[in-house]
Symmetry: C2
Subunit: 227 residues, 2 copies
DNA sequence: GTCTATAGTCGGATAGAC
DNA sequence: GTCTATCCGACTATAGAC
């Protein structure tokens, strides 16, 4: 990996400037790939936005595809950083009280955190775009994102749905419910431009976000079997 | 428009062969744009798949963007052709019996037809891909698709939700519910590759499609206020 | 390590023969 | 109307100076 090479020469020479350049390139790439996809984003645009010249991308990441994969790894870290708190909170609640009602509450915590990333957070916009695009059209980063982001997240949600509904739901059915629930959030991430126009909303933040989330919580009540 | 130009010389000369070439190009373009988007699709690839040479695209459609817009118009027609029956059925049911229960039944008919297009139909795969992509990243075809496909469809669904729930729901809330409901179907259209992997399903057709739809129908019961 | 300069490729568009 | 041949711009990648 180009990353460990970079660390190797840094350790040897004590050179530090490179790490800042590397971070800027990664940030610019995340933004560009998230907005335009692998093919749509150009290395020139990324280099310019990062304030480096073109060959720097090859130097640090081996090329366009290496940069794309590095973005995926960065996304996994950011996803974990953002979701770790809510996930631990949800798990702690369930360990203290394994009731269906608590599972429903934990589910709402997890979905709210996910929705916050997908719908509201401006900083998360780049990486959610990247992730959603890769799920629709599997590319070089599909496996890592599936294994590190989607599968664990969906497993947790499906598990919480199963507990909340009691024994009356099969494992597969809970997984389908989880997919439908998470996908419904795409109304305000992937499909946001259309949704905002349809609701005549300038954005989906603040009170508007809260309003959507109240409705999503009602849907969760429905999924988990409360009238 | 290049289209009316084409019709003009046909009417004058009685020449017919061109219309077949035009249709082949449109079909190939629909498939290519649906799979790869405007930038991702190449005119060379479209021309080759259609069995024509490159300048034919300019001749018939004025260029890449003209071809893209022609695809959008074609999609509107196909959407209407596919959805007209179910929409009329839903409206007829509601006119005969304006009860919440009937509205719920009509809603299930409309959603099932929509899901069939988005999830199961192989022929619809190209145009649903095109539509979903354009909604996420507004391009030249956004306005026509929004006005002719999304807005009318969502209006009908939001209206049916409102009737099914009685007077207890605001117009805006019904619209948000409609967006969330329709978006949940994207689990098996936009996000299909990931969903199929997660469920360990080879495809989402036949009995598997029916299984998902049974769960979607339960969600509709939840949205429309049945326990 | 970082840069300039350029090689090599590919895509959209079009001129002009027939 | 349909074709071949070609132009021009933009892209990725890389050689080589410092």
């Amino acid at each position: 990996m180009s990353r460990s090479d970079g660390q190797a020469w840094e350790a040897a020479s004590g050179y530090r400037k490179g790490e800042a350049a590397r971070a800027r390139i990664l940030e610019a790439a995340l933004s560009a790939f998230g907005a335009n996809g692998f093919k749509g984003a150009t290395t020139r645009q990324i280099a310019e936005e990062a304030g480096v010249n073109l060959p720097a991308l090859k130097y640090y990441f081996g090329g366009k595809e290496g940069l794309y994969l590095a973005c995926a790894e960065e996304i996994v870290e950011r996803y974990r950083r953002q979701m770790l708190g809510p996930i631990l909170e949800a798990q702690a609640g369930l360990e203290a009280d394994g009731s269906p009602a608590q599972a429903r509450a934990s589910l709402k915590i997890v979905i709210a955190a996910l929705a916050d990333q997908m719908m509201e957070s401006r900083e998360a916009e780049a990486w959610t775009g990247f992730v959603l695009r890769e799920m629709a059209e599997p590319g070089p980063a599909f496996d890592i994102l599936y294994g590190q982001v989607w599968a664990p997240g969906l497993d947790l949600i499906a598990y919480l749905i199963g507990v909340a509904r009691g024994e009356g739901v099969s494992r597969k059915a809970a997984r389908i419910e989880a997919l439908l629930l998470v996908s419904s959030l795409s109304a305000f991430s992937t499909a946001r431009p259309m949704s905002l126009k349809y609701l005549a909303w300038p954005d989906a933040g603040g009170e508007r976000f809260a309003r959507v989330m109240r409705i999503v919580d009602e849907r969760i009540d429905g999924v988990t079997g409360r009238s």
